[in-house]
């Protein structure tokens, strides 16, 4: 997104908001970690357990890479544009509709993150608290972050990363005594299909790839619009997803080693159970401290999703300079519109466990992500290629036509 810088009182200059690659990597990594840490174990039947689960987490990187590739090809073809702009540019009016659908998806994901965190807090920590209260508070803070802009929450991601690393290390130290390596090899007999299914499920909820493609032009070092150079992003993708894969494997190993057996068996929130088992020198228990930390991660995730939602909405509702006042209003209040929609989604999902479960199951299957990250870029690329073939043909026909004349 761009912000206006006032210059010499009268003239305005558009300056693109930019964050560094390291900030983006921290942001995406923490956002992804939130999905892992807060994920309930229900519905994980058929997954592999023990050390194999950690191995599956490592192998999930291959799926993430496969999901990233089509989008990256599209971005390479359209340097200086984000994913929604590139799709809109290739597919025309259909592209605008798709941008609107992407906006709806991101809004639902933000609502789902808030609702899931609310459910976690109400079921595991504050059992007496009213429903939806935490979801609304949480989302209000996220809206504030998204309203302050990418630079603000991009910078905040460093603070989040520092606290996360400190707490992760302290968790490892405090649980090191309880770690039993034998548990890692307790479940070694699993079918290949269930292993790869587990790996796919671990990659399937990766909404951060979409966010990354939407943020790409806002990264420092990315190609400016109109140049033919490829956008910077591959290295960033490997950094954040590599870090995530390693961290996820590490957390799963720790959970299996400390709690034993399959991470999905017997605990509603396995990582919370792990945090409950940890004891500190200063505190008798540290679960509340870890829970607070997860709140920071969730906040960053919601900020990211809301901001990316606003980016998609901008592609749909481009400023018409007075021709369509409603569209103008939506374009200039995109963050507010996105926030209102996210509040509505959070209220619905936090109030309806069935709705939340259904949406989580649909999202967890990975089909929406395949549609967004594989089918959509493929269609856009095909449409672009078709258009270029047509234009070449026209060019070829034109000289002949002139000769005939």
């Amino acid at each position: 997104m761009a912000r206006k810088i006032r210059e010499r009182g009268t003239r305005y200059q558009m300056v693109k908001t930019r964050i560094s690659g390291a900030q983006a990597a921290s942001l995406l990594f923490l956002s992804r970690m939130f999905s892992l840490l807060i994920a309930p174990s229900g519905g994980r039947e058929g997954r592999v357990g023990g050390g194999l689960a950690a191995l599956a987490a490592l192998c999930s990187f291959l799926f993430q890479l496969a999901l990233f590739f089509p989008g990256w090809l599209l971005m390479k073809r359209h340097p200086g544009q984000n994913f929604a702009e590139a799709v809109t540019g290739c597919l025309g009016k259909l592209g605008k509709l798709i941008s609107l659908l992407l906006w709806a998806l991101l809004v639902l994901l933000a609502g789902m993150s808030a609702a899931e965190f609310d459910r976690f807090l109400v079921s595991a920590v504050y059992e007496q608290a009213p429903k939806m209260l935490f979801a609304l508070l949480f989302l209000a803070a996220a809206v504030y972050g998204a309203w302050l802009g990418l630079e603000a929450f991009g910078r905040y991601a460093y603070f989040g990363l520092t606290i996360f690393l400190v707490l992760a290390v302290s968790l490892c130290f405090s649980l090191a005594g309880d770690f039993q390596a034998g548990e890692l090899f307790a479940q070694t007999s699993a079918s290949v299909s269930s292993f790869w299914r587990t790996a796919w499920e671990m990659a399937a909820g990766d909404a951060e790839i979409l966010c990354f493609l939407l943020l790409l032009p806002n990264l420092r070092g990315s190609a400016p619009s109109g140049t033919g150079s490829a956008p910077v992003g591959k290295r960033l993708f490997f950094t954040w997803n590599g870090l995530y894969t390693l961290a996820a494997s590490g957390f799963i190993l720790l959970t299996v080693g400390v709690l034993g057996g399959s991470p999905s068996m017997g605990h509603s929130y396995p990582f919370y159970t792990l945090a409950c088992a940890a004891e500190g020198q200063l505190f008798a228990r540290t679960d509340a401290v870890h829970m607070s930390m997860w709140g920071v991660l969730g906040l960053l995730r919601c900020c990211l999703l809301l901001y990316c939602g606003a980016v998609c909405l901008r592609c749909t509702a481009t400023v018409s300079s007075g021709k369509n006042p409603f569209m103008d209003w939506v374009a200039s209040h995109r963050t507010a519109v996105t926030a209102i929609a996210a509040f509505a989604a959070a209220v619905f999902l936090a109030g309806s466990p069935q709705g939340l479960n259904a949406f989580r199951a649909a999202w967890g299957d990975g089909i929406p992500l395949i549609l967004v990250l594989a089918v959509l870029p493929a269609a856009a690329l095909a449409s672009g290629a078709l258009a270029s073939v047509k234009s070449v043909k026209k060019k070829k026909e034109k000289p002949g036509h002139e000769q005939n004349l």
């Binding site: 803070a141 302050l148 630079e151 910078r155 905040y156 829970m291 709140g295 209003w329």
Partner: protein, 536 residues
């Protein structure tokens, strides 16, 4: 039913607000008349000046004759040194022999031959005349001349240079800024004897016409940043500027933030250090507090003593300051959150003690924390405004009331008194952030009391987001912590030795995330034309 047009609605609201503003406030405007130029006739000039000055008693005028030409000597009462006036102006004028054939000859004499005062200016308008008169200049108006000649003979009384009250140090200079602008300028010039140091005088406030001065190093500062700041000051919608803090909100990107990207200092040595790093300083006449911009958040934790002590102790002191800041804003809130919502976090021995102390008190813990913090703030405010001996008495009464009577009466638990006392001490460790932390600790008590650790975390996140959004001139206030740079480990959380620090010249434009233009003035005359802001 027609669709409601949101743009039309917005316009209606804006019109309503403008109407309300017109009814409630006067918009600041200039008091300069349309016909502002000085006249040829001395009588006309004197009538106009007296009229515009509302015949104020402090405007002194004396008719004199210089070489047969009628003239008026004007000054403001108490602003001009009488000794300088008589020695430097009156005596040479009286001693001037012979007749001048025309007023222009006299003007030429003033221009070319006379050295009546070092600071000599010519004025052509009434507003300029007033500006100089009220700045302590003596002005001579001559019959037949539409030009006034001003002589800098200031002689008003002012506070002598003393140790700065808000930035006390152990080693280093004891000089602090004073109220008159020119004295402050000399203090800076004495420390940076470089021709690249530039002072740029301008006025702010359409009524007060307060002198302000931009201070910068022409070879280090961003030209674009200077232009933007100058423009903001020129467009200042204020009629009276009495203190540098009046300007502060107009220079910030996030004026409603808890934290500012514009710093203040009373110390000339601090100001010189910042200016040498490519920053811009603003001195305001009538206040010893100068503004520095951009100002990074971590600079609130730096003092001049950090650079005079040994690096090990300086680093330790700096970490103490960071700890104090976080303790001040978070400790009461965290205590309330843990004692109300997360008792399982406390070790058993501590839990027993806390519970036994709090069991006997009649109020909920959050309410208790709010009351005691409020009482403390009341006493602090009362002690601050009262004369010192009475202020001490307030402190003693407060200590007795809170520390002893309230606990013995069973109104407040002793752990809470301990927490408030500790918070009170830590809040003074970083004085520049005192006003922010005072409000924040109340907010965190509420967050912790209502929502436990979740509330405190959420509040802290919102606060850090707020801090991360602060920037001045495209320089993020949180830099170099985030965006990160190894400089942070050199002179932010720790303080490296001078052998190491001296090797690398810190430049504000080079901090990570900076979007300041990289064009420098290179000592050329400023044209007022800015360059486009580049993405750093």
């Amino acid at each position: 039913m027609g669709r409601r047009n949101p743009i039309g609605l917005k316009k209606q609201v804006e019109q309503k607000l403008a109407q309300y503003r017109r009814q409630s406030y006067f918009s600041p405007g200039s008091d300069v008349p349309q016909d502002d130029r000085l006249k040829i006739s001395l009588l006309d000039n004197m009538i106009s000046l007296r009229q515009q000055f509302s015949n104020s008693s402090d405007l002194l005028n004396r008719e004199i004759t210089v070489c047969g030409l009628k003239a008026q000597l004007l000054a403001c009462e108490g602003m001009v040194s009488l000794q300088s006036l008589s020695e430097l102006l009156a005596e040479p004028l009286n001693g001037l022999e012979g007749q001048m054939s025309s007023p222009m000859e006299l003007l030429d004499w003033f221009r070319g031959q006379a050295i009546l005062a070092l600071d000599q200016k010519e004025v052509y308008t009434y507003s300029q005349t007033f500006q100089f008169l009220m700045s302590g200049f003596a002005v001579i108006l001559v019959e037949g001349l539409d030009t006034g000649i001003c002589f800098g003979l200031q002689g008003f009384n002012f506070r002598s240079i003393s140790e700065p009250s808000a930035e006390v140090n152990v080693r280093g200079s004891r000089e602090g800024f004073v109220e008159p602008l020119r004295i402050n300028m000399t203090m800076i010039r004495r420390r940076i004897k470089s021709p690249k140091l530039k002072f740029e005088l301008m006025t702010a406030g359409s009524q007060s016409r307060t002198d302000i001065c931009l201070v910068y190093m022409t070879d280090r500062v961003s030209e674009d940043f200077v232009n933007q700041t100058r423009l903001r000051l020129q467009q200042l919608p204020m009629d009276v500027v009495l203190e540098s803090s009046y300007l502060q909100p107009f220079l910030e990107k996030q004026p409603y933030s808890f934290f500012s990207g514009v710093g203040t200092t009373e110390r000339p040595d601090t100001l010189c250090a910042k200016v040498a790093e490519g920053r811009l300083a603003i001195l305001v006449d009538g206040t010893p507090f100068a503004l520095i911009l951009p100002y990074l958040f971590h600079e609130n934790f730096q003092t001049i003593d950090d650079y005079t002590h040994r690096p090990v102790y300086a680093a330790f002191a700096r970490l103490l300051k960071y700890l104090s800041f976080y303790l001040t804003i978070l400790l009461p809130g965290l205590y309330v959150a843990v004692a109300v919502h997360h008792l399982e976090l406390l070790p058993h021995a501590l839990l027993r003690r806390v519970m036994s102390a709090e069991a006997s008190t009649p109020f909920p813990l959050m309410f208790e924390a709010l009351i005691i913090q409020l009482i403390y703030e009341l006493m602090r405010e009362a002690g601050l405004r009262l004369p010192r001996p009475v202020g001490h008495a307030i402190g003693i009464v407060g200590a007795l009331v809170i520390g002893d009577a309230a606990v013995s009466a069973g109104l407040i638990g002793s752990p809470m008194v301990l927490i408030v006392a500790l918070t009170a001490i830590t809040s003074f460790v970083v004085p520049s952030l005192y006003d922010s932390v005072t409000v924040l600790k109340f907010l965190f008590i509420l967050a912790g009391g209502f929502f436990g650790l979740f509330g405190v975390t959420l509040g802290m996140s919102a606060l850090l987001l707020n801090l991360c959004s602060v920037s001045v001139g495209g320089v993020p206030a949180t830099s170099p912590a985030t965006p990160f740079n190894p400089y942070a480990l050199r002179d932010m959380f720790l303080r490296a030795g001078w052998r190491f620090l001296g090797k690398y010249v810190f430049h504000i434009e080079d901090v990570p995330g900076s979007q300041m233009g990289d064009k420098r003035l290179h000592g050329q005359e400023d044209t007022g034309e800015g360059d486009q802001v580049s993405n750093g």
